[in-house]
């Protein structure tokens, strides 16, 4: 992870975004992996592992809410920041720019629906 990489380097375990913090950018992993945690009732629940090319923090580009989860470096990781201002200005002229992000978000909603259905099924079995 040297001179030929873009973005900012985070060391293993370092937080890239923190749940509850305000955000005005999104991130794309350039090299390495990151893990997504959500704090619920004082417990840290691991939600996902993200790899090279994955986005995160995109929700705060489209809404004004605080960060919904914490993302930490899983091993050393390089992450590129995309500014909300740059992105939103460009999207006014070129809406297709959002295509990949919308597709990723829709895949995540599909996954959430599956997880929710599984959880409900398990609850009713109990």
């Amino acid at each position: 992870m040297g001179i030929r990489s873009l973005g900012k380097r985070y060391r293993s375990g370092e937080s890239i975004v923190c749940q509850g913090a305000a955000g005005n950018c999104m991130y794309v992993i350039q090299e390495g992996q990151a893990e997504v945690y959500r704090e619920e009732n004082g417990r840290e629940i691991r939600m996902a592992v993200l790899k090279e090319g994955d986005f995160f923090g995109e929700m705060s580009i489209f809404d004004r809410e605080v960060r919904a989860a914490t993302v930490k470096a899983l091993g050393d990781v390089r992450v590129l920041t995309i500014d909300k201002k740059t992105f939103m200005r460009r999207i006014q002229k070129d809406p297709s720019l959002a295509f990949d992000i919308v597709r990723t978000m829709s895949q995540r909603i599909r996954q959430l629906n599956c997880d929710l259905a599984e959880m409900r099924a398990r609850e009713t079995e109990k």
């Binding site: 001179i3 030929r4 794309v28 920041t81 460009r90």
Partner: protein, 478 residues
């Protein structure tokens, strides 16, 4: 037998066309792209990507004689190789990551060198968001090619191929118009008929003359001669002397508009842009103490590769007609900055027009030309800003004020970095020239500049307190 085309309803369903053009791409349409530089590859990539979203199946041939795997000028598209902060972000948002094989160095700052001193301007987030790349496969006398190096143009071409474009390693000699369709002719083989031809052949191409000869109103863009050379310094020396910064020079040398030293891997690229770049200007520049100071022992090493390519400095007239569109440098490019970024914008606008609005003269006039015009109008403002920069280059008190204001701002945190943000966007091409100019009219900017004009010249010794490194002469008030 022609396959059924994507219906007009499908296209309307995506909400991007109010009335669809009768001259349109259909399933099985053939698209010829002349030139596989950034504009040609971006166009092919976006056309295929957008066509897929509405279930439109088109065939694309990219004509490009270069493989981008040979060293030296033969394998290269002659450029400084800076992919702007703006473009790096947009590409990342589109899912196109620039891998380490393509990025020869991540750049996180600029060093501005003037006779009154040197000042460092950091990226707003202190992050490497600018990529220094090779357009070919590295300089001529570079020894055996490292296997992990991939040129930017080759990378984009491979992406286009992975989406379904076909490469024809041929030089196009002629584009003609027969029986309502453009024909493309190479030196060997029969001529090929296409439903749409995108000309992405750059500014130095043989094919622009025949296209001008088609008499639909196209005029070749105006171009200026530039200079590029490469030095071999080795990674350790580059780290020590140039770091991860791009080095820019504001020197009082007539006809020189922009001068930059860009570190990449084991090499350093020098680019000189202006309206009359010749051997004597190059010698004057390399002799300047501010330039020599960037190299070990203040000695400029031997060049390993050099060329005098031309750059687009004035937009083409009418870069489109029925079934033909000219993109990138063959059409309109951003003045002196971010030519790859404007290739991306014009290529994408042309692809969007072709897929969602049609391929007639009318469709390109309505949906493609506004993007070109926007760049062209902004270039007029850019030209004015470069005139102002000439005044600064020529008058020492304004250089002192600029140096002092920037250096002082760099010691502060927060948003009050008026001059730094103007210089950053001007050098990186991160914002339109219009937006940068408007920022310089803000009262806070004018007031600070006024104050620094007084402070930097009445008590020039105060430069020493700023974050830059004043030259000895200036620190002493000469």
């Amino acid at each position: 037998m022609p396959r059924p085309s994507a219906s007009i309803e499908d296209r309307l369903a995506v909400g991007l066309s109010e009335r669809f053009d009768p001259v349109a791409l259909e399933n099985g349409s053939r698209v010829g792209v002349i030139g596989g530089g950034p504009a040609g590859s971006f166009f092919s990539l976006f056309l295929l990507k957008m066509a897929e979203t509405i279930g439109l199946d088109v065939d694309i041939d990219i004509y490009e004689p270069r493989h981008f795997v040979h060293k030296g000028p033969a394998g290269c598209n002659h450029c400084g190789g800076i992919v702007s902060e703006f473009l790096v972000q947009l590409l990342a948002a589109e899912g196109f990551r620039l891998p380490p094989e393509v990025v020869q160095r991540g750049i996180d700052s600029y060093m501005l060198h003037m006779d009154v001193g040197t000042v460092r301007i950091d990226t707003p987030l202190q992050e490497k968001r600018i990529a220094a790349v090779y357009r070919g496969n590295g300089p001529r006398d570079a020894g055996p090619a490292p296997t992990h190096v991939v040129g930017f143009d080759r990378h984009l071409q491979d992406l286009a191929v992975s989406r379904g474009a076909k490469i024809r390693r041929q030089l196009v000699n002629q584009v003609s118009w027969e029986e309502d369709r453009p024909h493309v002719q190479c030196s060997t083989g029969p001529s090929e008929v296409y439903d749409l031809v995108a000309v992405a052949a750059g500014i130095n191409s043989n094919v622009l003359q025949p296209i001008e000869g088609l008499e639909f109103g196209y005029r070749i863009p105006e171009a200026a001669r530039t200079f590029i050379c490469e030095f071999h310094l080795g990674e350790a020396t580059i780290r020590e002397h140039l770091g991860t910064s791009m080095h820019l020079f504001l020197l009082d040398i007539p006809h020189l508009e922009c001068a930059a030293i860009i570190p990449k891997g084991d090499f350093v690229t020098l680019c000189l842009l202006g309206d009359k770049i010749d051997d004597s200007l190059v010698t004057t520049f390399l002799d300047a103490p501010e330039v020599r100071a960037c190299f070990p022992k203040a000695m400029v090493p031997r060049t390993v590769c050099h060329c005098f390519p031309r750059i687009n400095v004035k937009a083409a007239v009418r870069p489109f007609t029925d079934r033909i569109v000219l993109i990138g440098d063959s059409g309109v490019a951003r003045l002196y900055k971010d030519g790859i970024g404007s290739a991306y914008r014009t290529a994408k606008a042309a692809a969007r027009t072709a897929v969602f609005h049609g391929i007639s003269d009318e469709a390109f006039a309505k949906h493609y030309w506004p993007t070109c015009r926007q760049i062209d109008v902004d270039n007029s403002i850019g030209r004015f800003m470069f005139t102002v920069s000439h005044v600064i280059q020529k008058t020492r008190p304004t250089r002192r004020a600029l140096f002092r204001m920037t250096a002082t701002e760099q010691t502060r945190t927060g948003n009050r970095r008026h001059m730094s943000s103007v210089l950053w966007d001007l050098f990186t091409g991160s914002a339109p020239y219009r937006e940068i100019l408007l920022r310089t009219f803000r009262p806070a900017f004018v007031a600070r500049l006024g104050w620094n004009l007084v402070a930097g010249n009445v008590a020039p010794g105060s430069l020493a307190s700023a974050n830059g490194q004043p030259t000895n002469g200036d620190a002493n008030g000469h």
